[in-house]
């Protein structure tokens, strides 16, 4: 039988506010355990939550960016369950009246665009962390994360393959960083995914029973976990069994999912409106302000890059995935006097390779956009060749010097003077008559020998196009 995969996603994006959603404690990552948990975060009796307005603004910004309905009136609810890292015994979340309603996001897979529905997005507080290792049979509780603002973004079950799911997650990942509402750091848990997966025979309208896979903190894990889960569900059904609705945990080390709890064991969360918080009202003034604060969104930017810079779809996609990279690119193009294609190659090629190697974000690039632009300008006007430019970039990496200064100092200027090159070619041909004969006898591969020798002599500075042209005409004589 042919099977179709159906995927829906829940993404928890940690909002990049300075303080927590209901208290003044810091949200900075990596502090000593329990040093960033105040009385409110600890759930001490008598303490009360006060909503962080910045979190609300971020949620509104997100909603506007996906063309969603922003609820003029949304309500916080208490989601009741006991767990040691949940200090109040309930999570303050939103339930039947979320702040962001139906919206959508376009993804591109295999050259085709598909629209994925976003059911809703709501604000909630994060729980703390339970640490099961190093406590000799006990559990350590770190409440630094408790109360960190999250935006839970729930998609429609619109995705039909792991590739689509990953494309959707990447799109959202890019978007929240563009909006400056989430740092997108998946290792630190700032952007987490739960994936709902089911399978059904191709052509069947009704959805199959789904399993929810939690704890997916990289794009690669999402892809692998979905692939594995689909295979598992098909196996279960084809061997006569039934998929049960359950929560499964992905184990990256073993590359498998395993059952956490089934629907029967699921909690009744007894949601009800939180009486400590007033309903959130979004005024039209705030909406206008947030609308005005929206940056150019990735999809628009990508299109503009294709039109304005004549880039192909792939290049414009890569360059606009990170807002910082897009900004860098545009700056560098300016400084290169408009060498859009060449700058794209250098940003995506040598620069990105260098940054990756050194594990540096583009915002902290040792070579500024201005300096890279200056370097590309010299390639474009043939002062140096691409090969020499790589050397120059390396020298720029460890200094604050501009390309021009380095080219001058190191004497790297390309030899394009035909007279000079001709003299060298004549001399080389005179010294290697045997090879000249071979070439003329039809062994055109000998060309490489002459180019190599001359490049060696000029330490790579010979203008390769000129050199080729001259060599060819001389050898044919």
């Amino acid at each position: 039988m042919q099977w179709e995969t159906v995927i829906g996603l829940e993404i928890h994006a940690q909002l990049a506010t300075k303080s927590k959603i209901f208290s003044g404690a810091s949200t900075a990552y990596g502090a000593e355990p329990n040093t960033q948990a105040c009385a409110v975060d600890l759930g001490l009796p008598g303490t009360l939550p006060v909503l962080n307005e910045q979190a609300v603004r971020f949620a509104v910004k997100f909603g506007l960016a996906i063309g969603a309905h922003i609820a003029p009136y949304s309500v916080f609810a208490r989601k009741n369950y006991f767990y040691p890292d949940l200090p109040k015994g309930y999570q303050t979340s939103q339930f039947d009246k979320p702040i962001v309603g139906l919206g959508q996001l376009d993804i591109d897979v295999d050259g085709e665009t598909k629209t994925i529905g976003v059911t809703r997005a709501h604000l909630e507080e994060d729980a703390g962390k339970s640490l099961h290792e190093d406590y000799h049979g006990m559990t350590g509780i770190d409440l630094n994360r408790a109360g960190t603002p999250l935006l839970e973004i729930v998609s429609e079950p619109d995705m039909r393959s792991a590739a689509e799911a990953v494309a959707y997650v990447k799109k959202l990942h890019t978007l929240v960083q563009y909006l400056d509402i989430c740092d997108g750091n998946m290792q630190e848990g700032s952007f987490r995914c739960d994936v709902n997966v089911s399978v059904r025979p191709v052509g069947q309208e009704e959805f199959g029973t789904r399993a929810e896979i939690k704890n997916l903190n990289s794009f690669r894990f999402i892809e692998k976990a979905v692939a594995h889960e689909v295979e598992r569900q098909i196996d279960v059904i084809e061997s006569g069994g039934k998929v049960v609705q359950e929560t499964r945990l992905y184990d990256a080390n073993k590359d498998e999912t395993r059952s956490m709890r089934s629907k029967e064991e699921a909690n009744d969360y007894r949601y009800f409106p939180c009486p400590d918080l007033l309903p959130v009202e979004i005024t039209s003034e705030l909406l206008d302000e947030m609308r005005g604060s929206l940056p150019e969104l990735p999809a628009t930017k990508k299109q503009r890059f294709q039109q304005q810079y004549g880039l192909n779809e792939y290049d414009s996609e890569v360059l606009t995935t990170q807002r910082a990279m897009a900004d860098y690119y545009e700056d560098a193009v300016n400084f290169s006097d408009g060498e859009a294609k060449l700058v794209a190659n250098w940003v995506m090629g040598e620069l990105s390779a260098g940054l990756n190697q050194n594990n540096v974000e583009i915002v902290n690039s040792p070579v500024s956009a201005e300096r890279l632009g200056g370097l590309v300008k010299r390639i474009a006007d043939k002062t140096i060749s691409g090969k020499i430019a790589k050397q120059v970039l390396e020298l720029m990496w460890n200094s604050n010097d501009f390309a021009d200064a380095i080219i001058e100092r190191e004497g790297l200027k390309q030899i394009s003077d035909t007279g000079e090159l001709e003299k060298m070619i004549d001399q080389l041909m005179a010294e290697n008559t045997a090879q000249v004969e071979q070439y003329r006898a039809g062994k055109t591969k000998m060309m490489g020998f002459f180019v190599g020798q001359l490049m060696k002599q000029t330490q790579g500075k010979a203008n390769p196009q000129e050199l080729n042209k001259l060599l060819q005409s001389k050898l044919k004589e």
């Binding site: 600890l42 001490l44 008598g46 009360l48 007894r270 009486p275 400590d276």
Partner: protein, 487 residues
């Protein structure tokens, strides 16, 4: 000294007839002498109080003092007090010392009041007789066989026995007004949102409201004035200026319309209490007010609606008491579930457990619509009834409680009859209105309280009516036998 008003005490302090240290010691001595049998104060703050009193004396000497500077008071043990145990009347918090002070307490502290200690209360404010306290019941100074009411029974009994001039209370369904009535003191619960709930341990957050308990409306006004005001730490506190509660106390109530809801004068009300209320209404009429019968058609639904909403909120509010971070933790738990079950099982008393279970039930899947949602709808109807009523009248009057103080143990095994003792007070909390109780006579030598209900944020008018009534009567000045003596 013990029966002096706050204004008189404040004048004595300013005139150096007495120092705050002496005044504080005087009431501390009365507590030591009388409270052995009453059990109204569960934590003494003697040492810190005397230091605070000395500070107050310095302020008074420098001329920089207000009406409350140097005045001793007691706080219901539901208000968190930094460095001094806050038990909420529960074994669960027998060891709990908050690292912060409730806003209402801070405000009184800033006004110069001196905290002598913390008063006994029903566990987590759940009860109408003070019998659910982990620290044992409180006795009513008017009759030691009877209860003081609850949940602010400790505060009411302490003010009645003149162990402190004033005391704080909280009122979720009548917890200031009913014990005030049972103990013959004046108590006011302001409009929801008027006094900050920050640092006040929550029972039912949408109903809880702190307030003042005192000998008279005037003293209650002084205390409430200091407690009130917007607090950015409590999102439900209301950002609006506090009226001057003292300025209009002396105004005539001539021409004011007082409404009597017919639903509050039915067979539920004891005849001799009805008589006392009618007498009190006559006095108010004598002062020039018009009396008008009104109807609150849905008010009979207030007890059932309340016993859905309040337990629902309490079931979540009390989840934080899990033995993990603070409060009672069972001995050597064998696993997480054991930790939860035994810590909560041992830490909470029966009434608390009952309400947590009711609350969890009414919120659970399949029952939410039938109970919680329906109760919220009823709540809006009740609120609407009051809104309509206040289009016709300025103040509503009724009995505070259907009976006088009942005998200890009488209703302990019968929760429904206990719940019905708040039948006249609960609607006020569901609507979020201000309400108070004023002493208006005795039945069998037990105090009777008249309830006055005002429109939103009309505390000043309520206190004005109560004060005018107290100008014409002296029920509020009566002191229970035995407690008139100096010690």
């Amino acid at each position: 000294m013990y029966n002096k008003s706050l204004k008189e005490l404040s004048a004595s302090l300013r005139n150096k007839d007495v120092s705050s240290a002496e005044l504080s010691q005087y009431f501390l001595d009365r507590i030591k002498h009388f409270d052995g049998e009453l059990n109204s104060v569960i934590t003494s703050n003697e040492e810190a109080a005397l230091l605070a009193a000395q500070q107050a004396d310095k302020l008074i000497a420098s001329g920089d003092s207000g009406l409350l500077t140097g005045i001793p008071l007691l706080h219901k043990d539901i208000f968190c007090t930094q460095g001094l145990r806050t038990s909420c009347g529960s074994k669960m918090l027998d060891n709990f010392i908050a690292p912060y002070t409730a806003t209402a307490v801070s405000k009184l502290e800033q006004a110069g009041a001196v905290m002598l200690g913390k008063t006994n209360m029903d566990e987590f404010a759940m009860g109408s007789s003070n019998e659910t306290s982990f620290y044992g019941g409180v006795k009513n100074p008017w009759n030691l066989d009877t209860v003081p009411g609850g949940s602010s029974g400790g505060s009411a009994a302490a003010v009645a026995a003149r162990l402190a001039p004033i005391a704080s209370g909280t009122d979720t369904g009548g917890s200031i007004r009913q014990p005030a009535a049972f103990c013959g003191v004046t108590g006011i619960k302001p409009t929801y949102g008027r006094v900050s709930r920050y640092g006040m341990i929550a029972f039912a957050s949408s109903l809880d409201q702190g307030g003042a308990m005192a000998k008279s409306a005037e003293d209650a006004a002084v205390m409430l004035q200091a407690m009130s005001g917007f607090d950015e730490k409590d999102s439900t506190s209301v950002d609006r200026p506090v009226d001057d509660l003292l300025a209009n106390l002396g105004d005539s109530i001539k021409g004011l319309t007082v409404g009597l809801p017919k639903e509050f004068f039915t067979d539920d009300l004891d005849d001799d209490i009805r008589e006392k209320i009618e007498e009190a209404v006559d006095t108010i009429k004598l002062a020039g007010a018009n009396i008008k019968e009104i109807s609150l058609p849905n008010i009979n639904l207030s007890v059932p609606a309340y016993y859905v909403v309040a337990p629902a909120e309490c079931s979540a509010n009390l989840s934080r008491f899990d033995g993990v971070r603070f409060g009672h933790r069972c001995e050597s738990p064998k696993d997480l579930e054991d930790l939860y079950k035994r810590s909560r099982g041992e830490g909470f008393g029966d009434e608390v457990k009952r309400r947590v279970m009711i609350g969890a039930y009414v919120l659970s899947a399949g029952y939410y619509d039938a109970y919680y949602k329906k109760a919220q709808q009823v709540r809006r109807l009740i609120q609407q009834d009051f809104v309509e009523a206040f289009k016709e009248v300025d103040v509503i009057a009724s009995a505070t409680a259907p009976s006088v103080a009942f005998t200890s143990g009488e209703k302990k095994g019968d929760p429904v009859s206990m719940y019905l003792s708040d039948i006249f007070t609960i609607g006020v909390n569901l609507a979020g209105l201000p309400g108070m109780s004023v002493p208006c006579g005795f039945v069998d030598n037990k105090p009777v309280g008249m309830q006055l209900i005002g429109n939103y944020f009309e505390e000043a008018r309520l206190l004005n009516v109560a004060h005018q009534y107290q100008q014409l009567t002296d029920w509020h000045l009566a002191v229970p036998a035995g407690y008139e003596q100096e010690v």
